[in-house]
């Protein structure tokens, strides 16, 4: 379980996050929803220790962030963070070099699934292909959690479907997934739980099926209700 308790962050006196509290369970898909600038990516970065927090705590299965966190939580940032000159095969070897949780077979399977060319250089990939390769790097780790920042941003329709397929497939399996997006439609039926953020504050967090059955509202309905009023 990824657990954030009253996490706050300031950036030169401006509060970016304020008392953010939510959990993302293993075996569930949790989605951070919010408008641009609501602090979605920042939350993911705080979980990965990529930006400091100024209050509250973040625990992963009860442990504070340490170097082992990165073996248990794989992070898929919103861009492909691999030097442009690197070949994809080199990038895979680089990952294998550093991550003891790297699953080579799964990496190969994913490369086939997304139909990626090992000899291509990272800098020459199209946006959609780069996003797919980015998923390969994150999902080929035998991690307990996968964190994805805007996996659909700027991706064409065909590739979006291909990426969406991943969530319900064995490639994600029983891991916990935490993702951010501002395009709810892609994930509406995929997510277990939604956490709505507005200006760095958790406006509401809910189980999607529960809202549908108890309030007969769609995720989008709740979002509109919460964020636009």
């Amino acid at each position: 379980m990824i657990e954030l308790v009253r996490v706050s962050q300031k950036y030169t006196y401006k509060e970016v996050l304020k008392d953010v509290t939510f959990t993302a369970e293993k075996g569930q898909i949790t989605c951070l929803l919010g408008l641009n600038g609501a602090g979605k990516s920042t939350i993911l970065k705080t979980i990965m220790g990529l930006t400091p927090i100024h209050g509250g705590s973040i625990r992963i299965d009860g442990e504070e962030i340490n170097q082992n966190t990165y073996e248990r939580v794989s992070y898929i940032p919103d861009h492909l963070a691999i030097p442009a000159s690197m070949k994809l095969s080199d990038a895979l070897r680089f990952m294998e070099d550093f991550y003891s949780c790297w699953n080579k077979d799964r990496a190969n399977e994913l490369m086939r699934f997304f139909d990626l060319d090992l000899d291509e250089r990272a800098g020459r990939l199209s946006k959609g292909t780069a996003a797919k390769f980015n998923l390969v790097l994150g999902l080929a780790q035998d991690s307990d959690y996968v964190i994805m920042d805007e996996p659909f941003a700027g991706i064409d329709l065909f590739n979006r479907e291909r990426i969406a397929e991943v969530f319900s497939s064995e490639l994600v399996g029983n891991r916990g997934v935490l993702l951010t997006t501002h395009e709810v439609k892609e994930v509406e039926y995929l997510i277990d739980k939604a956490v709505l953020l507005r200006d760095g504050v958790v406006a509401r967090s809910f189980e999607c099926e529960q809202v549908r059955s108890e309030e007969s509202k769609s995720v989008v309905d709740v979002m509109k209700e919460v964020l636009l009023t």
């Binding site: 970065k45 990529l50 170097q67 966190t69 861009h79 963070a81 550093f98």
Partner: protein
């Protein structure tokens, strides 16, 4: 192989073409200069021999290196400037650019100080590789000199003499005294750490961080400079002054590394 060494390799690998270019530049400029100067010398001696004049003294490889002070200094200065800039760029290149490699680098499953130390080690490898390359070049250049100059005009010289005849070598790059080498490069290593920590201050606190970084560099610079020019011979024995200097360096080093490690693992923002 542990992750620190892998990270060192990664950093070396990323800079390899620049490093090879610097080496190539050094070789090209120095060999060109050496060949030209040697040719001029040989020609002069031949002319003198033809006119029946006897020159007072033959010339040695060290003489030619001594003639080439400025030319030899150019590639060295260029290398120093490039490596000096890269002390900063080795960090900033991970933030700028399309790949923003910092996202990957800082989520690798290893303690962050390994990232810091690996970057520092890579810089040291580049510096020492350039110095070593210079030594190799001198060997090669001496061979070249021996081929070019007929033995009747040639005077033999020690390798160290050739090094000593170029001020850039003997004063900065390759002091003949081993202890001096250790002290010079030790201070250089310390300076790299101070600059690294300054970069991390900026990366952690951004705009106000620049002010902290400048102050930090000023304070450390004053401490290191003060230690170098420490003039307390009125009271202390030379070895005690050496010990005091050493303590100051260790303190600056300890503080810089502690702060640097803390910033890189807790405060930095990608």
């Amino acid at each position: 192989m542990n992750r620190y060494l892998k990270l060192v390799h990664l950093e070396v690998h990323r800079f390899r073409y620049a490093l090879f270019s610097l080496m190539f530049l050094t070789a090209a400029i120095q060999i060109t200069g050496l060949v030209h100067t040697t040719q001029v010398r040989v020609k002069g001696w031949r002319e003198a021999a033809r006119l029946g004049e006897h020159s007072t003294r033959n010339f040695s490889f060290a003489d030619v290196i001594g003639d080439l002070q400025f030319l030899f200094a150019i590639p060295i200065l260029i290398s120093i400037v490039v490596l000096g800039l890269y002390v900063f760029l080795i960090w900033y290149r991970d933030w700028i650019g399309r790949d923003k490699f910092a996202y990957r680098l800082f989520t690798l499953p290893t303690v962050r100080r390994n990232v810091y130390m690996a970057k520092a080690t890579a810089i040291f490898v580049f510096v020492f590789a350039m110095v070593s390359f210079q030594l190799l070049m001198l060997l090669l250049e001496r061979q070249l000199f021996n081929w070019m100059v007929p033995s009747e005009y040639r005077m033999s010289s020690l390798f160290a003499e050739a090094v000593a005849s170029n001020l850039v070598f003997v004063r900065f790059l390759l002091p003949l005294d081993g202890i001096q080498f250790v002290v010079y490069y030790g201070i250089g290593i310390l300076a790299v750490f101070v600059l690294f920590t300054a970069v991390l201050l900026e990366r952690s606190y951004r705009l106000p961080g620049i002010v902290y970084a400048i102050l930090y560099v000023a304070v450390c610079g004053a401490a290191i400079g003060g230690a170098v020019y420490l003039n307390l011979y009125n009271y202390f024995y030379p070895r005690e002054i050496t010990a005091i200097r050493f303590c100051i360096y260790l303190m600056v080093m300890g503080f810089t590394l502690t702060l640097g490690f803390r910033l890189v693992s807790k405060k930095i923002t990608v």
